[in-house]
Structures are given as C-alpha cells and as structure tokens.
C-alpha cells in the first residue's frame, strides 16, 4: 500500500539489471514456493549476490512475500544480500589452524587485500570470510579459495596464492 510514492531521486541504491533475473524466471512458468531456493541459487550465481530489486521482481512472480524471502535468505548462510567478490576466500579459524598460525595468515590477507573478515574488496575481486574447521586439520593452517584447498600455509605462500588470482 502506498503512503508516499518513491521518487526516482529517492531510490538510493543503484538498481541491478533485471535481464538475467527475467531469463532465470522464464524457466518457471508457474513457480511455487518450492522453487524459491533453486531460483535464489541461480540468481546468486548470476549476480554474485541477491540484489534487492531482483528480489522484488521475484516476489511478484513466485507470489511469496518479500519478508518470507528475506527470512529464507538470512536463514541459509550460502546466500548473500551484499555484492560479493568474484572469488571467495575462506580462512579456517578452527583450533588446529589457530595453533598452527592462522592469525598470521589472516593478518597477511588483510595486509595484501586491505579488507577485514566479512568484507569484499573494492574491485569485487575477493570476499574474505572466516570459517570453522574445514576438516583438513592435517594440512593446518588451511584456507580455501573458491572450491580449492590450500594447506600448510605460510605468509609468503598466502601472498603468492592471492596474487595468482
């Protein structure tokens, strides 16, 4: 319901282009709530994150209220509402890695990329986040870039790896 229409100048965030979203939605002629998560995954793959105006487009199509879509997105850690970098760096902060020097590795990443945990570089190349034990403690300290594991890290090795992307 409208209380006060939003004028173009008041729309603060830049709007994401809806073409990709429409292409994805075109595959679902009669979408139901069961399709929501697959749709969100494809949107996230296509845009790198879930832009708000794209979600507003989805809510009209799948007839699921925006609040509920937001609830789903915040429930699953795989989804992000902020633009993400092309590559995701996950640094293990589990006990084994911590003991074997993860704090130094983290310092190095911040030094090289100028971002803290949870942030994305300005050029949207990297998003950097801490994770709990990756289950490869024998390789500690460990980090992942996208799907690839890098073990027995040193600060030098870390810098090299980051530069290789």
């Amino acid at each position: 319901m409208m209380h006060k229409p939003v004028t173009a100048s008041e729309k603060s965030k830049p709007l994401a282009d809806l073409t990709k979203c429409r292409d994805i939605l075109a595959k679902y002629t009669s979408a139901t709530s069961a399709d929501l998560i697959p749709i969100l995954q494809q949107i996230q793959d296509a845009y790198g994150y879930l832009p708000q105006n794209v979600l507003e487009e989805i809510t009209a199509r799948v007839r699921i209220p925006l609040s509920k879509i937001y609830g789903v997105i915040t429930f699953y850690s795989q989804f992000s509402l902020e633009p993400r970098g092309k590559h995701t760096i996950k640094v293990c902060v589990g006990t084994a890695c911590h003991i074997k020097g993860a704090p130094d590795i983290k310092k190095k990443i911040t030094e090289v990329l100028h971002i803290q945990e949870g942030e994305t570089t300005k050029d949207y190349k990297f998003t950097y986040e801490p994770v709990a034990c990756l289950g490869t403690c024998f390789l500690a300290p460990v980090m992942m870039v996208n799907e690839r594991y890098y073990g027995k890290l040193t600060t030098e090795k870390t810098e090299q790896i980051l530069k290789s992307y």
């Binding site: 319901m1 209380h3 209220p65 915040t74 429930f75």
Partner: protein, 895 residues
C-alpha cells in the same frame, strides 16, 4: 462428538476441536503464548503442554485434536516441570525490565512466571538489556523482548494478509524482521496494529501509550469507531481523562478484534489544540469572530431563526446533519427542522454518498438498507465487489473478503476502473470505463438471460417486470457492452457465468456505484443481478452497500432526509404525518423538502435565507465547492456546529463548539444495520456541549420545549414512533447491540432482510438504459478525474489529519496517473502538476502508477492544501442528486 476426561472431568467436543478448546469449555485454564483463536495452531511455544495417558511425550494442547476416551492431565507434575523449564529458558534470553516495561500487568510471560513461581533462570547470569526502537509511527518495538511466539507473523499473514513480518536468521540470532529490516512504512505495513494486539510480551506495543500508565490504572470503555460504516467495536483505555490506546474485543462483532489504522491510531484528534472551545459569533462574514457565552450565542441563534421564519416563511430555512452524528442527534435535528422550524428542508451528508442506495434499493426491494450482515461475506462462494476500494475505505470489511477468497475459496469479481488491492484476489477483474456501470451490469444480465442461467422459479414467484427487463438488456450484447465499457467480452461472459452459477452470491458495493449521474440506476442494476439469480433473502447472499461514514445508515433511518420521518415513513403520508404531529404537539409540513444541492440553488436564488449545519463540512466535501461556498456566502444566517474550524465554519455567523464521539453517549448504526451504543469515555472539553443538548437549547429558546435528560430518552421516543425500532432501548443495546428491524422488546433483531417477501412485496426488476456521465473528456479536458478515499484519512481530514501518528505516515496528496499519460505529459512521480477542470484548478504532486486506468487520474479529498472538490462537478444522480464525484473531465499539465 467425542467424549474425553480432562483432569478427571468429563467433556464432549467435536473431533476437530483441540484439547485446549475442550479444556476451555470446562473452564480449565491452560497457559498459552502462541495460541490465538483466529489463527491456525503453530505449536511453537509449548507452554500449553499437557499429559495424555498412554502418550509418551507431553503434547501441545493447542495443536492436538481430541479423541474418544482420551484422558488428559493439565496439571501433572511433569507438565508443571516442563512449563517451568520452558519459562526459565525464555527468561534466560529476556531483559529483566518488568519494573519499567509498559506491558507489566498484562504481559503473559510475567503472568506465567508469577503463576509458576519462576523467579529467575539458572541458564543465565545476566539478562540482555532492552533494545527499544521507536522509529516507526504507532508501533513501538523491542526485539530483545521478543519470545519468538510468531503470533505477529501469523496474524499479519493470516488475518491482515499483508505479510510484513518473517522470522529472520537462525539459531540464537533468530528474530522477527521485515524484509531487509526496512522501517514498517517502507515495508508495506498498513498500521492495522494486529501484530501489536497479539504480542504476549512487550516486544510490540502501541507507541502513543508508552510511559503513560499501566494496564490496571486504565478504565476500559466500550464504544464504536467513528470513521467508516463498518462500525468496529472499540475498547478505549482511559486514564485521567486521557485515552491511552484503543484495542478491540476478539469476541465482538463485526470486527472480532480487528481494526484498521484509523480505528487503532486515529483517536488523538480529540486533544488537538485546534478544538473549538467557545461559541463564536459575528454579524457579517467579513468580520472577525468574537467569543460569546453560550447564553448569548443560543439566544442569538433562536432570535435570528425566528425572525427568518416570520419574515420569509419556514421554507427559507434548511438543516443539514451529519452521518457521523449519533442516531439521537440526527433524530433531534429533523425534529427541530420539522416541528420547530416547520419545514422538511432537512438533509444529511448521506446525500453526497449513499442517497442513491436508499433510492435505488427502495425502488427495487422496498428497503434502502443492506440486506445481509458483514459476517456473511466470509461464507459467500462468489463475491461481486463493485465500486469499492474496500481495503482502504472499509479495511475491516476487506479482511472478510480476503478471508473468503484466501481461506474459504470464494471467487471474487471486482468491478473497478482502478487496479485496487483487491484485484490481486480477483478471479475476474472488470476494468470498466468510469461511469459505465449500468451498461456493464446490463451486459451481465444479458449473458445470464441468454444462456438461461437465471433462477426462473425465483423470478416467477418473487419479482415483477421481467419482460421489460429482458427487452432492454437484449440490446446489451457482449460486443456492445465491450464497446461502451471497454471490458473484454470474454470477461463479461465469464463473470456472468460465475455469479449465476452459485446459490451463495453476495454483492458488496461502494461509492463507485452511487456517485454517478446514473448512481441510483447502478444500484438498481445490481439489485437486478441479485434478483434474477435469486441471490437474496438467504445467508451469504444479498446486495450490500458499504456505508461511507459510520452512521450513514442511522442518519437516514432517523429521518434526516427531506421526504421521510424515521425508518422511511413518508412526510406526505397522512397517517405518518398525523402520528408525528400528535407526538410532537404541532402541525407538520406535508410537502417534501429540499435536497441538499437544491438548498444551495435556492440560497443562490435568494430564497433560502438560513442554514443550520451540524457536523458536516460541505464547503470542502461537496462537489464544485466554489458554487457551494458562493451559496453559503449569500445566506443571511449560517449556524455551524463543529469540533474544528472547517471551511464551512469559516463562512458561518455563529459557530457552536460540540463534543466528539469519545465524549458522548448515544448510538450508531453500521452498514449491516447494527444499532450499537457508544459510551462516553472522557469528559466534554470545557466550553463545549453535546450536539443533542445544543439542539434542545435552541428549540427551547425558540419556545418549543425539548427536554431530555439523556440520549436514552431520545431513543425511547424514536422507539415509540418507529415500528422497526419498537424493541430497541439502551438497556437492550448493551453488548453487541441489535440489528433492526426489532419489532418488539422480545424480538432478537433481523440480520437478513427479505427472507420470505420483499419489503415492497415483489422485488422489482427495473429496466434501465445506460446513461452516460454528465461531463466526458474532450479535446480541452482530455482526462477522466475520479475521486475517492485513502486508507489513512477520512473525508475532509479535520479529524484524521490531527492524529500525529497517522499524519507522520501520510501528510499530503499525490495524484495517481497512468504511466502512458505521464509519459506523454512528461510527468514523473513527485513532480508538481496543475489539474484544471471547467470549474477550478489546483496544484498537486503526481504519482505515476499503473493502478490508474489509462486516460484517468485519481485524487482524494482529504487534504485542505489539495481542495479536490474545486474540480468536481456538474453531474448529479438523476434521482438522488448525489454529485457525480467519480467522473468529470480535467486537464493536467506539468509545472
């Protein structure tokens, strides 16, 4: 029925009922935190657990159905242990803020901690701090106090159907959030306050009441909402002469706990510093007002009225009363006009909204009232909603429509040029050109008759004039109807088949039907639809006008009309005339009087010299107000009774300050004919008087004694003179009131009219040709202008704009215009435009939206800065003279 034992007591229950419901039957108390009778059970809080013999784990009684031979214990040791543990867990994550929390005293968590003697929690050393958020209008939030019962989420989903809240995040971080944590205003919230009303703790509360008092300090006064015709039952929470908040009783009709933003948060106007608190008088309207004593003002009014009557005759006087005044006040106003002034020049503001309903329904059925109750909407299989933006104008009635569609599978046919919210719920949307109602309905009738879908037996036994109707509608083939109305043929056929195919078809309509040149005709057409399909006289059927103001029904029932006394007894019927003359001890005029628009014409012609206007602001709400204002300026004497300095009051010679509906006793009659009491909750402001008292004072000063000690005595007089009200008195109206006709003191009231026979005998099928609107767009004024209401405000805004919470949500008008037109005119949302008609012009900001039909613009008339009625205009209903607000021609340009 199954029978079971609860705590050793035997009880019978329906198999669909829950253990909780069965226990309630026995008066056994089971604590609940997430249960509400209006919501589907969720089993979230597990506070209501009970032990069922033979079942291992404890079960949630609110979500477990009863079964034969069940043995339930609601108080066993394991039950108590589980509840205590539950409370301890909740408390471990809850601020320890009871000492300063506004909810203290009616907080369910606190009450249960008391009941189960849980003093603290072993799971926490330090409770979290409160986290107050008062950034939203009306609604105060503290998410640290949320116990995640989910009731706010569910009621917004299931009752309001607005879906604003959801659970967000997971684990310990779980909370209740709007999409993207947006402020409620931007999240689509309509501020109905349902979520606040169900929150068991202090997580959601009414902001205006914050820090003003605890629940046990307030007196709870039952009354009726003063805004729209739904007539919601309200509970006012009053402390020291101040209303702290408004709630509603879950068990009281017609709203069963629901309210809209106006009912819930529209109550603060009464304490506005703008209230008039002294009579104001002046000799000429170019002079400033001066304050006068009540004696001086009353004597002045009495003397002037007598002079005018003596010099120019009784018919030089006209009286207008208000559809927001009580029944008693409207009764006295017409008694004053007739018995004291000796004229039938009496009208009320129903003239500008539902007078065509009275005319049209009387011609068709014999009674101008809604045939069925609002509750019937929920059980209808097919609903036609025509010319009613129900979600904004009658929000609580709209909840029933939504429920019928979403939960009960009803099919909805929306007839409206605008893409109103209900279109989302519609099976068929007939987007007609404004003003073509009669043609469209004739098209529907055509299809029904041509395809043989009519109810022949009903037509034969209970109606007349089918032959003529058949001849007339034969011309309205789907092709021709599409040509006139712009509605695709296939939709016309589809809608006709859907409506004719049910025995539970209900028609609900609003001002989009009546405010046309052919308004009364439109109403008769709808009645034709109901009659030829036999959809009338039974539950979940009928034809039901949604009355605009809360007492439109009542003000007309009370005879505040030029041609009738109470309940439509005709002034020119010798029997009725004699009855009233005898009762009032004076001869009464037989000639029907002037309708409101005729009064302005007569005033301009110099024949009407004085008017007495009670609680009505035609200088801003009538059509073509420049004309109305000139007429008022010509009067020798204008008396206005008001709360605020309205546009009409500004033209008065005498202003008499009156009390508002929180400040008085009396009765209102809602859209379903339910007569219900309002009860004085707060004292009259110093310097003001009740409307009924003022009328009595003037009459008495004129030598006609009018003496009542209390409005109940006025009702007794009404009951004596009105067969339909014979069984009504204030005592009997306590509680939920009575639905008239109430023929005697033992009669229970009549929720459904015309069950065996119509009030007029046979139902009349009126054969009607389509009459185009008075003023259609042309090359000079190429766009249609339609006017109407917005959710947040009411009519001239004199009350609704003076509620700070509501004002902070909506404080200015935006003209709706379709993107095609906007593009052509180079208009973007937020631009200021000039709107011009043949009668006037104004400036307003634009809102570019596809909600508007191409070729049409829409404006409300709530904001004094946007005096929409300078534009509206020349058309009026052929029979009732109601202005054609829904159609006039304008041009729009960007400035």
């Amino acid at each position: 029925m199954v029978s079971l034992l609860i705590d050793g007591k035997k009880v019978e229950a329906e198999p669909s009922q829950t253990i909780l419901q069965a226990a309630q039957k026995l008066g056994i108390h089971i604590p609940t935190l997430c249960h509400d009778p209006r919501l589907a059970p969720s089993g979230a809080c597990r506070m209501c657990v009970v032990e069922v013999e033979g079942a291992r784990p404890l079960v949630a009684s609110c979500a477990t159905p009863v079964s034969e031979g069940m043995k339930v214990s609601t108080r066993s040791e394991s039950v108590t242990r589980a509840r205590k543990l539950n409370l301890e867990l909740i408390w471990s994550d809850h601020p320890n803020d009871c000492l300063t929390c506004d909810k203290t005293g009616e907080c369910q968590l606190q009450n249960f901690m008391y009941e189960y003697e849980v003093k603290t929690s072993r799971f926490v050393e330090q409770n979290p701090p409160p986290r107050p958020d008062d950034s939203n209008p009306g609604i105060y939030r503290d998410m640290n106090k949320c116990i995640l019962c989910g009731k706010c989420v569910r009621i917004c989903d299931e009752v309001q159907d607005q879906h604003i809240w959801a659970f967000s995040n997971r684990g310990m971080q779980t909370s209740i959030a709007t999409a993207f944590e947006k402020p409620l205003k931007d999240a689509g919230c309509v501020f109905c306050g349902h979520c606040v009303s169900v929150c068991p703790v202090g997580a959601l509360m009414d902001k205006p009441a914050a820090k003003k008092g605890r629940p046990w300090e307030t007196k709870k006064v039952r009354t009726v909402c003063c805004y729209c015709g739904v007539g919601c039952s309200l509970l006012l929470h009053v402390k020291g002469g101040e209303i702290l908040k408004v709630t509603a009783d879950v068990y009281s009709p017609p709203n069963y706990g629901s309210l809209c933003v106006k009912g819930r948060y529209g109550y603060e106007f009464y304490k506005s510093p703008d209230r008039l608190t002294s009579p104001l008088i002046r000799d000429r309207i170019d002079q400033p007002f001066r304050e006068a004593s009540w004696d001086e003002a009353i004597n002045l009014v009495a003397r002037k009225f007598m002079e005018i009557k003596r010099e120019y005759g009784s018919d030089a006087f006209g009286c207008l009363s208000s559809s927001r005044g009580t029944n008693e006040e409207n009764f006295l106003a017409q008694k004053f006009a007739r018995a004291v002034m000796g004229t039938n020049n009496m009208d009320n503001c129903a003239r500008v909204c539902h007078a065509p309903s009275v005319t049209g329904l009387r011609a068709s059925l014999g009674s101008g009232a809604a045939t069925n109750s609002l509750a019937d909407i929920e059980g209808a299989e097919v609903l036609i909603v025509s010319g009613s933006n129900t979600t904004e104008a009658h929000p609580v009635a709209a909840l029933k429509i939504k429920k019928a569609v979403r939960q009960n599978g009803a099919r909805l046919i929306v007839i409206d040029p605008r893409e109103i919210e209900l279109v989302q719920y519609a099976t068929v949307w007939l987007r007609l050109k404004p003003g073509t109602n009669v043609a469209l309905i004739n098209g529907l009738l055509h299809v029904i008759l041509k395809e043989g879908l009519e109810n022949e037996e009903f037509i034969r036994q209970r109606t007349e004039n089918i032959d003529m109707l058949q001849q007339v509608v034969a011309q309205y083939t789907p092709e021709r109807t599409e040509e006139i109305t712009g509605v695709p043929q296939k939709d016309i056929v589809r809608a006709a088949r859907i409506y004719a195919g049910t025995k539970k078809g209900m028609i609900v309509y609003g001002l989009g039907m009546t405010e046309h040149k052919a308004g009364s005709h439109g109403v008769m057409s709808l009645a034709n639809l109901a009659l030829i399909t036999g959809n009338v006289g039974r539950p979940n059927t009928g034809i039901n006008p949604l009355r605009g103001q809360n007492n439109v029904q009542g003000s007309c029932d009370m005879g505040a009309l030029p041609d009738v006394y109470t309940c439509y007894q005709k002034v020119d019927d010798p029997v009725a005339n004699k009855k009233f003359s005898e009762a009032w001890g004076c001869p009464l005029p037989e000639k029907p009087g002037l309708k409101e628009p005729q009064m302005y014409r007569e005033a301009l012609a110099g024949k009407l010299k004085a008017m007495y206007i009670i609680g009505y602001d035609p200088a801003s709400t009538q059509a073509n107000i420049n004309h109305v204002r000139s007429a008022m300026k010509k009067l020798d004497f204008l008396v206005v009774q008001e709360l605020f300095m309205t546009e009409t009051a500004k033209l008065a010679h005498v202003i008499l300050p009156a009390g508002c509906f929180f400040e008085k006793d009396g009765t209102f009659t809602n859209a379903e004919r339910r007569v219900r009491r309002l009860n004085q909750a707060i004292p009259l402001p110093k310097g003001t008087k009740h409307d009924w008292e003022i009328i009595c004072l003037i009459a008495s000063a004129m030598g006609y004694s009018m003496q009542y000690r209390h409005p109940s005595e006025i009702m007794d007089e009404i009951a004596k003179l009105t067969p339909e009200f014979a069984g009504i008195d204030f005592k009997r109206l306590e509680g939920d009131g009575l639905v008239w006709p109430v023929w005697d003191k033992n009669h229970p009231g009549t929720p459904i009219l015309h069950q065996d026979t119509f009030t007029r005998g046979k139902g009349r099928l009126n054969d009607l040709l389509y009459t185009p609107s008075e003023e259609l767009p042309d090359s000079d004024y190429p766009l249609y202008l339609t006017t109407g209401r917005r959710l947040y405000h009411y009519n001239n805004g004199s009350m609704s704009l003076r509620n700070p919470e509501i004002y902070s949500i909506s404080s200015e008008e935006f003209m709706e215009i379709h993107p095609d037109e906007a593009e052509r005119l180079g208009i973007e949302t937020g631009d200021t435009v000039r709107v011009r008609s043949r009668r006037g012009s104004l400036e307003v900001k634009a809102n570019v939206t596809a909600k508007s039909r191409p070729g049409c613009v829409f404006l409300s008339f709530h904001f004094p800065e946007t005096p929409t009625n300078v534009l509206t205009g020349p058309g009026e209903d052929l029979l009732a003279l109601t202005p054609e607000y829904k159609v006039c021609a304008v041009k729009v340009e960007k400035i």
